[in-house]
């Protein structure tokens, strides 16, 4: 889950009422945020991926004020006198090769003091969190914050030759060329590939040609450094996915909205597209909420007043409309897209008491799968024969596969370790491992397991067939082929199928001392004495016989007889 460290003092300072630690615990338990740690002022918080807005101090305070009912509905963010003409960004289609989408907004301080050090730090921290999460480490979207009063609009977003780029990076003192920046700067090493292709890179410049930034890598010092006291900031987002670009920017707005800043749209002009007025990014959008849906999902018959109160608590505005409400949703709630999303807010705006749960009366008959019944039956037979019952993982080690010449299990593309590197295609692979791990135990050793394997099968939808096998191993001074075959014969007999043994070459077994079982011509099992080479390798000092029945292959023959 996304996680961040917030200043608790800063969150509480935005609330007009005092909130104790235990009250905060309770409020957050009922939210999609969770306290991971609290140490002094540092509040480590995790949120579900749909509520990133709660990971900013402002966003969390906005939410808490709602559930404490000290603030209601949407905060006002529209300016009394918007900038005229509206600010604009001119987007050149050359950006399509790298990051075709850009969105922007203007935020204006409620006071002449402009941005304070705390809000600026909060905005920058939240910006980095958005890069790492929804921005997919800046690949899908990345943000920039600029001092609007030191920029001469309009802004131009285009791809330019590196040779034409000269700027002072935000973290440097001296001017450098595009080539030098991309060749040596650590951030360029990390993110350069998203903003540069060959000898060209993405650039944001103002009317005077002053570079604001090289998206998505770094801002410039000249026009890309927001400072304490700045009263108007330009927020911008570029990226590869239009919706992610817009949502990332919308989320950043919560920091400013929660501190009383106003928000204005920024137009995006492209020669090949209609003008994007940018209003959908900064203004609340409306979702129709039918009252029936609330009842159908929540299971509660809530009054209209209660539903409106709950929506207000969750900082949404609701206006009654035919058969329900028109719900105004702020830009920083991209999780709210459809009516069902809004219903969830209604449901969780009040606590969900466990005692309100209704156990639905059962109108169905519970039952096991017949094939699972078969497996349990066979496991019971093996237990009755005195075989210990291990439970082994489906994934097996490289070593266990290497020792069984002729085995063809599916290999993992991205194993974590060599211990779990293959998907077993027979239980024998796991069971030889088990023998190897128990060489200090006395003999005889007898164990058996009914468990899944995955067999390579190009005809299957998934490329592999999940089958369930019953494998048994008997290691003792006198163990031999006949012992294994006797038990396999017994199992087939108990299941009322007449399997026949035929000589076969089977991996890991002594040639001439192995057989394949067939039922109606279908291969359903194998039995054999384990090769002494393998026994020597794994340190087993006694002869060992193994048998493995494919219960999935056997299934059709059994079900036809309605057994077991």
């Amino acid at each position: 889950m996304p996680q961040s460290v917030l200043s608790l003092e800063r969150v509480l300072s935005l609330l007009p009422v005092r909130v104790t630690d235990s009250a905060l615990d309770d409020l957050l338990f009922a939210s999609k945020a969770e306290i991971d740690a609290r140490e002094g002022d540092a509040l480590t918080l995790s949120v579900t991926p749909d509520r990133l807005d709660l990971l900013s101090e402002g966003g969390l305070a906005l939410y808490l004020a709602g559930v404490l009912e000290v603030a209601h509905g949407l905060p006002a963010t529209a300016p009394k006198s918007p900038t005229s003409p509206p600010p604009r960004i001119d987007c050149d289609p050359s950006v399509d090769r790298l990051r075709p989408w850009i969105a922007a907004a203007l935020v204006r301080s409620p006071t002449d003091a402009g941005i304070d050090v705390g809000t600026l730090a909060e905005a920058i921290r939240f910006q980095e969190l958005l890069h790492a999460s929804i921005g997919r480490d800046r690949r899908a979207a990345s943000l920039g914050i600029y001092p609007w009063e030191r920029v001469n609009p309009p802004i131009r977003y285009s791809e330019e030759p590196l040779s034409e780029v000269r700027f002072v990076p935000l973290d440097a003192e001296e001017e450098m060329t595009g080539e030098r920046f991309f060749a040596g700067h650590p951030l360029a090493a990390r993110y350069g590939a998203y903003g540069r292709l060959g000898d060209r890179c993405l650039v944001l410049r103002d009317r005077d040609g002053v570079i604001l930034s090289l998206p998505p890598v770094l801002n410039s010092r000249a026009a890309g450094e927001a400072r304490v006291g700045d009263r108007i900031l330009l927020l911008e987002s570029t990226g590869t996915l239009e919706r992610t670009v817009r949502e990332t920017l919308s989320l950043l707005l919560v920091v400013f909205a929660s501190h009383g800043w106003t928000i204005e749209p920024v137009e995006v002009h492209r020669p090949d597209r209609p003008v994007d007025p940018g209003r959908s990014i900064v203004e609340p959008r409306t979702i129709d909420l039918p009252s029936t849906l609330v009842r159908e999902v929540s299971g509660e018959t809530l009054s209209a007043a209660e539903i409106e109160r709950r929506l207000s608590r969750t900082r949404l505005n609701a206006r009654p409309h035919e058969g329900g409400w028109k719900v105004a949703v702020p830009p920083w709630r991209p999780d709210l897209q459809t009516p069902i999303d809004v219903v969830e807010d209604v449901v969780i705006a009040a606590a969900i008491p466990a005692e309100r749960g209704i156990v639905p009366p059962s109108r169905t008959l519970g039952r096991r799968l017949p094939e699972v019944r078969l497996r349990r039956t066979v496991a019971g037979y093996l237990l009755g024969l005195g075989f210990a019952a291990p439970h082994t993982p489906l994934l097996v080690s490289e070593a266990s596969v290497a020792r069984v010449t002729g085995a063809d299990p599916i290999r993992l593309r991205n194993p974590v370790s060599s211990e779990f590197a293959y998907v077993r295609d027979r239980l024998l692979l796991s069971h030889l491992d088990l023998l190897a791990r128990n060489t200090r135990r006395s003999y005889p050793q007898r164990f058996a397991e009914v468990a899944p394997v995955v067999i390579r099968d190009p005809a299957e939808e998934t490329g592999g067939r999940t089958s369930y096998h019953a494998s048994l191993v008997l290691a003792s001074e006198s163990a031999g082929f006949a012992d294994g075959a006797a038990i396999a014969d017994y199992l087939l007999r108990r299941l009322d199928v007449g399997g026949v043994r035929e000589p076969a070459e089977i991996p890991a077994t002594i040639p001439g001392r192995a057989a394949r079982y067939r039922v109606a011509g279908e291969a359903v099992g194998e039995v054999g004495e384990i090769q002494p080479r393998i026994l020597f390798e794994i340190g087993v000092p006694v002869p060992t016989v193994w048998a493995e029945i494919d219960l999935t292959a056997l299934g059709p023959f059994l079900l036809r007889h309605d057994t077991p």
Partner: protein, 508 residues
């Protein structure tokens, strides 16, 4: 114990007796005055006492004889006590001297009366404590002549002990013991009798060998009718057997399944190697979701999967891209950013969630009402330690029925928690791409506190509608592996896959 050459091996360890042991046992078996003292037994057998004692101890270790031991305490005079009885106690001798001198005796006269200085000192102290002698010098009898013939209590006790007669005053005995005149002597008397086993033990007639293992030949010959069998020491060590018992983890999971079957759920299964379509896409997981990355899901080499049926693929692609379902005009929602890639849908991956089984179940268009559960293995790309495993068990359950609401989901959580013995439950909001609303049930474990156990929600329209399901479906998944840890009192997830045969065998 191996049998003699030519004999079948014995079916147990034989009980063997030496000659003296046999004699002692036989003597006890015929004795009419049981139990018999060791000395008496030795006398009857004409054997040395030490030999008899040794035989008795060996027979006892074979549980063939029993011992009755009587502990006795005798009182006797010490050498000083015997001397005091003969000469008289010092106080008596001092009293006699006083009487001889008319009840008055100077210290100088006393020194000539044959008592040592210690004896004189002790006698004077005793007589004064008894009130027979006045304080001061010379020594004077308080009532001359009165006590010369009366026996002192100490004298009485000494005589009793010497003659082994009468009740002895323990207080006076203790005084005499402190003066070193008497002592207690402890000893025991050992009497022996044959045990039940000792009585029953077959003893072959002299010169005849006992039979070893009962063999088919012996049975056929009838020799068993006239001969006795060599007895076995039934307490001797026997081969150490181990057995089999149900795997405790698997048994616990099966019990959990029984609970769900009892609640009306039918079982379902799906492939462990799954396509990304069923594992993620159909569940409305965005194709660039972090949980789908190569860092979280296990993918495989050299295996090619296939996309699902074209119409289903088209429907799922529609909801991912925010388009209306084929034949409909309104999209169910805005979908996810980016294009839906059918090539990703066909990629095989080890199943990461049992919800894939629910999706396959729903795709078969079950007739409502329906309830399904699947308790099975899932996989995540995780290093293995005490709290994490690359393979984990999850139990998925769904109920599809008109009228199902979030309150019913909470009710299912409650029923499931109560079925495993947990009564405290609280609910909080959560998030999963495939459910809305999404909630999580926390249960209070008596020892471990609040635990997050039940994630669930109502399947989103984007999940059920492309599958052709029109009723609300509540869905939940339980980390049963974690529950099993708690229930089985295990602290390490790896123990669920233990390869230690000792812990899996009944006798281990």
């Amino acid at each position: 114990m191996p049998g003699a050459a030519g004999e079948a091996p014995d079916g147990g360890a034989s009980v063997s007796l030496s000659g003296p042991e046999r004699s002692v046992l036989e003597a006890l078996r015929i004795a009419s005055d049981l139990p018999v003292e060791e000395e008496e037994l030795a006398a009857r057998l004409g054997l040395g006492l030490d030999s008899v004692r040794g035989s008795l101890q060996r027979l006892r270790s074979k549980h063939l004889v029993v011992l009755e031991e009587e502990h006795l305490t005798d009182r006797e005079l010490t050498e000083r006590g015997t001397e005091a009885l003969r000469q008289g106690l010092p106080e008596r001798r001092f009293l006699d001297a006083l009487n001889r001198h008319g009840g008055r005796l100077t210290p100088e006269e006393a020194a000539t009366e044959g008592l040592s200085e210690d004896e004189r000192s002790a006698a004077i102290g005793i007589l004064r404590r008894r009130g027979l002698l006045d304080e001061g010098l010379p020594f004077r009898l308080r009532k001359p002549g009165e006590s010369d013939s009366t026996l002192l209590p100490e004298e009485v006790i000494l005589k009793q002990i010497a003659n082994s007669e009468g009740e002895i005053d323990p207080a006076i005995f203790a005084v005499l013991e402190r003066r070193g005149l008497v002592r207690e002597v402890h000893h025991s008397v050992k009497r022996w009798a044959p045990s039940e086993e000792g009585r029953r033990l077959p003893l072959a007639p002299a010169g005849e060998a006992l039979l070893g293992a009962l063999t088919p030949a012996l049975l056929a010959s009838g020799a068993w009718q006239t001969r006795s069998f060599r007895p076995y020491d039934v307490r001797a060590a026997v081969p150490y057997l181990t057995g089999a018992r149900p795997n405790p983890y698997v048994a616990w999971l099966e019990e959990f399944e029984e609970i769900l079957i009892g609640l009306g759920f039918e079982q379902a299964e799906g492939p462990l190697l799954e396509t990304e379509f069923w594992n993620n896409d159909v569940l409305f997981m965005p194709q660039d979701h972090p949980a789908r990355s190569i860092h979280d899901a296990l993918s495989v080499e050299g295996v090619t999967g296939h996309p699902p049926a074209a119409d289903l693929l088209a429907r799922v692609a529609s909801v991912h891209e925010g388009r209306a379902l084929p034949g409909e005009t309104q999209p169910l929602g805005p979908g996810w950013p980016g294009r839906y890639d059918p090539a990703i849908a066909a990629r095989p991956v080890l199943r990461t969630q049992t919800t894939a089984v629910s999706a396959r179940f729903l795709a078969r268009h079950p007739t409502p009402p329906f309830r399904m559960f699947s308790l099975d293995r899932n996989f995540r790309r995780e290093a293995v330690d005490a709290k994490h495993h690359i393979e984990f068990a999850q139990c998925e359950g769904i109920i599809g029925e008109e009228g199902m609401t979030i309150r019913h989901l909470v009710g299912v959580f409650r029923a499931a928690a109560e079925a495993i013995g947990i009564r405290e439950l609280k609910i909080r909001p959560s998030y999963f791409p495939f459910t809305e609303p999404s909630i999580e049930g926390y249960v209070r474990h008596p020892r471990l506190g609040w635990m997050e156990i039940f994630p669930g929600g109502l399947f989103r329209p984007e999940v059920v509608r492309p599958l052709g399901i029109d009723v609300p479906v509540i869905a939940w998944g339980i980390g049963v592996g974690r529950l099993a840890l708690v229930a089985l009192g295990v602290n390490d997830l790896r123990e669920m896959f233990t390869g230690d045969l000792a812990s899996l065998e009944g006798g281990g």
